[in-house]
């Protein structure tokens, strides 16, 4: 099976660990992720204004690229890209006048007609492959690893794009259970990390990071899995600062769900690119006997 895949800018640089592990894991599951040719930045964050068609150009152009490949579906790994592309698609399919404006403006492109389905990789794993099929292919069950799944905002809000229940999602936890890990639930799983406020108010993001991570620690989580490079940076990058500010803070590695998936499928840990993680998870994984060669 082949799947059209939209990476987005960050996955090519800061979040290369997400991309590499995802492509390898999906290949092991029999899915070839085919990168979209000539893709452009998705134009995150989705514009909420009712009169800013210009901001919808970037995401819609990507959907046109998908059409050009003859594919009807495109998957993303980055939650923010998922959210932006999906919301843009829903906006133009609900508003024929906006769609027409965009199509006419992009006169050198073919028309977008609302004919592309945007999905997130977690949906593909749950709906197209299935937990049982994944369980069967697990070579290194992540036994004894206590994993807290952090969903953040963009996979679940607003409700029209939610890949699972808005208040009580389980898809990432289900994946963790399928690969043998101990899924730990915690009350801050869908609480916002502070998002782009890292640019203008980094101190507030540190505060949010403490709230979220300490909640996971109180539930005895050992690692956090997530799907968004911004959540990863916000939760992963300032842990040294947190250790300095809060005596009871202990480091907790943040990982992409695809990294743990790749590891559990028995792939070479090199392909998971743990070297790019903000908090190196390898000592912990080693101590759990999960870094076999």
């Amino acid at each position: 099976m082949s799947l059209s895949y939209y990476p987005g800018c960050t996955l090519k640089t800061k979040a290369k660990n997400a991309e590499d592990s995802a492509i390898a894991a999906m290949a092991a599951l029999g899915v070839e992720m085919v990168e979209l040719p000539r893709w452009n930045c998705c134009g995150t964050v989705y514009s909420f204004a009712g009169d800013e068609e210009l901001h919808q150009l970037a995401p819609v152009r990507n959907l046109i690229r998908v059409k050009e490949t003859g594919s009807q579906k495109v998957a993303t790994i980055c939650s923010f890209c998922y959210n932006t592309l999906k919301r843009a698609h829903l906006l133009v399919t609900a508003n024929a006048d906006k769609l027409e404006t965009l199509n006419r403006f992009m006169e050198e492109e073919i028309d977008y007609e609302g004919d592309v389905e945007v999905v997130h990789l977690l949906e593909v794993l749950r709906d197209d492959i299935g937990w049982d099929a994944i369980k069967e292919k697990v070579q290194v069950p992540l036994t004894g690893l206590k994993v807290a799944s952090y969903y953040g905002c963009t996979l679940l809000r607003p409700e029209e794009i939610a890949i699972d229940d808005v208040e009580m999602p389980t898809v990432m936890d289900d994946l963790m259970r399928a690969i043998g890990a101990d899924a730990v639930s915690f009350p801050y799983a869908t609480e916002c990390c502070g998002s782009y406020q890292i640019v203008s108010n980094p101190d507030y993001v540190i505060q949010r990071s403490w709230d979220i991570l300490s909640s996971a620690l109180r539930r005895k989580a050992e690692v956090i899995v997530l799907s968004c490079p911004l959540c990863d940076a916000n939760l992963g990058q300032k842990q040294a600062e947190l250790k300095h500010r809060y005596a009871q803070f202990t480091e907790v590695p943040t990982l992409y769900f695809t990294q743990l998936l790749a590891l559990a499928l028995g792939l070479d840990p090199e392909v998971c690119r743990f070297d790019l993680n903000y908090v190196d998870p390898r000592p912990l994984l080693e101590s759990k006997g999960l870094l076999r060669q």
């Binding site: 930045c41 995150t44 009712g50 916002c192 890292i198």
Partner: protein, 135 residues
């Protein structure tokens, strides 16, 4: 302190603009405060989200401009999802930001961001931050 209110003030261009850009009927809000109760960034806000929409209902654009609320908002959409009246408050916050930014006012001054920070941050943060907080 005393605040003047009148029909003109509550039907001002400001109020009309907020409703136009956000596509929301401000008076649907019955000030239950659930948005503020669930807001992840409210610990850093001068005025709570429910107070901002109340001030918008009352046409008090100056009070809204003096507060930092709309600039601290992280667009997490928790408020919109939990609002019992279906008010998309995230869109109202965006409309309020745009009313300022469309006067060519940036909230974040890009030259002021240290080089190391730019090196550290994922592009996603910058693209998103500049989209939401600059003209």
């Amino acid at each position: 302190m005393r605040t003047q209110l009148s029909t003109d003030i509550i039907h001002s261009d400001f109020v009309k603009k907020v409703e136009e850009i956000s596509g929301q009927t401000l008076l649907s809000c019955y000030q239950c405060g659930k948005c503020s109760a669930g807001c992840p960034m409210c610990f850093a806000m001068d005025l709570l989200p429910n107070q901002i929409i109340r001030l918008a209902q009352l046409g008090q654009d100056q009070d809204i401009a003096k507060a930092n609320t709309i600039w601290i908002c992280a667009s997490c959409i928790t408020c919109s999802v939990r609002c019992p009246r279906g008010v998309d408050l995230a869109r109202v916050m965006e409309a309020l930001r745009l009313i300022t930014m469309r006067k060519n006012v940036d909230h974040v001054q890009i030259p002021d961001i240290p080089k190391e920070t730019i090196g550290e941050l994922p592009q996603l943060a910058m693209v998103g931050g500049f989209r939401k907080l600059t003209a």
